[in-house]
């Protein structure tokens, strides 16, 4: 076996099982299935070319995500969308987003243990994640959708763990707010504190 064959074999063995995870991540980054497919393919090609720089046994998913993310942002920049990305990023001042459990405090009288979460549909949750300001979205996607530890998220985003925590926590609070507003609008929780529906669980249907 030539060295090339060996490296192809080890790459196929280690990296290809991460295909679904990379695709899902690419889909959340780009928001479009076509673009996600191209981005995924490009990620694997790029990863293959840099396979020498990967340390066997270290976390491959994070390594692939980093490549994927870099490709995505570089492509966006090339397409002249940098201003747009930066503008989006500043629309929500992270210092203004509370780390407090405001939704819990708002709903505790009617639904003290948050039973209404069970009734919020999946699509609505994903839509709300996609609608978060980019820096919060990235942190929430990596922690809550991909289940990565803070340390790894920090490596992918190139920020310290403290920043990861801040973004994850605040991102979750924004997401909760978004989903709570939806739940009120959809009648899953009552808007007024008199509580016509005392419990969300086992409600209408």
């Amino acid at each position: 076996m030539s060295n090339e064959q060996i490296s192809t074999a080890s790459f196929t063995q280690e990296a290809i099982p991460e295909l679904d995870a990379v695709y899902r991540y690419a889909l959340r980054l780009s928001g479009a299935p076509d673009e996600a497919e191209d981005l995924t393919q490009e990620t694997f090609l790029r990863a293959f070319r840099s396979w020498d720089s990967y340390t066997p046994g270290t976390r491959i998913r994070g390594w692939l995500f980093t490549i994927c993310r870099n490709l995505f942002f570089r492509a966006r920049e090339r397409a002249g969308r940098r201003e747009e990305i930066m503008a989006e990023a500043t629309e929500e001042d992270p210092r203004q987003v509370s780390r407090e459990a405001v939704v819990f405090m708002a709903s505790r009288d009617r639904d003290p243990e948050g039973a209404f979460w069970d009734q919020v549909i999946d699509d609505e949750i994903l839509r709300a994640v996609d609608g978060l300001p980019p820096e919060f979205r990235e942190a929430v996607v990596l922690s809550d959708l991909e289940g990565l530890p803070y340390g790894e998220i920090g490596q992918i985003l190139g920020v310290p763990v403290g920043t990861v925590k801040s973004r994850v926590f605040r991102g979750r609070r924004l997401l909760q707010k978004q989903l709570y507003d939806y739940a009120v609008e959809a009648g899953i929780v009552s808007a007024d504190s008199t509580g016509t529906r005392r419990r969300a669980r086992g409600g209408e249907r």
């Binding site: 090339e4 064959q5 490296s7 192809t8 790459f11 196929t12 290809i16 295909l19 679904d20 990379v22 695709y23 899902r24 889909l27 299935p33 497919e37 995924t40 393919q41 694997f44 090609l45 293959f48 070319r49 459990a101 819990f104 709903s107 505790r108 003290p112 243990e113 948050g114 039973a115 979460w117 069970d118 919020v120 999946d122 699509d123 949750i125 994903l126 994640v129 929430v140 922690s143 809550d144 959708l145 991909e146 289940g147 530890p149 803070y150 925590k165 994850v168 926590f169 979750r172 997401l175 909760q176 989903l179």
Partner: protein, 110 residues
Amino acid sequence: MNWMNELRRILGRARKEPAMAPPPGHVTCEEAAERVFEWLDGELEEEMAARVGTHLETCAHCYPMLRFEQGFREAVTRAASGIGGAPSDLESRILKALDAEGGGGSTGST
């Protein structure tokens, strides 16, 4: 004035009482609330995790908050698990592209 001293004594005792019974897990409600996400994410070191966990699970004031955050997290995880994987032909396309790359022996610039 005697009644003033009496009042001070009573108030002083009332204020001291909570300190005599330490909060569950020896963590205050504020600390527990601050660390609830880290606890749920399994990011606290062992000793702190045990203390925060004890507090969240046994404090009547904090338990509903724990349930609320757990419910939220489970809902997001559930939504995430519904996201499909890559289209079935993507793997073969990528493998083909890798073959072309490896077989050509190109350095693959850019």
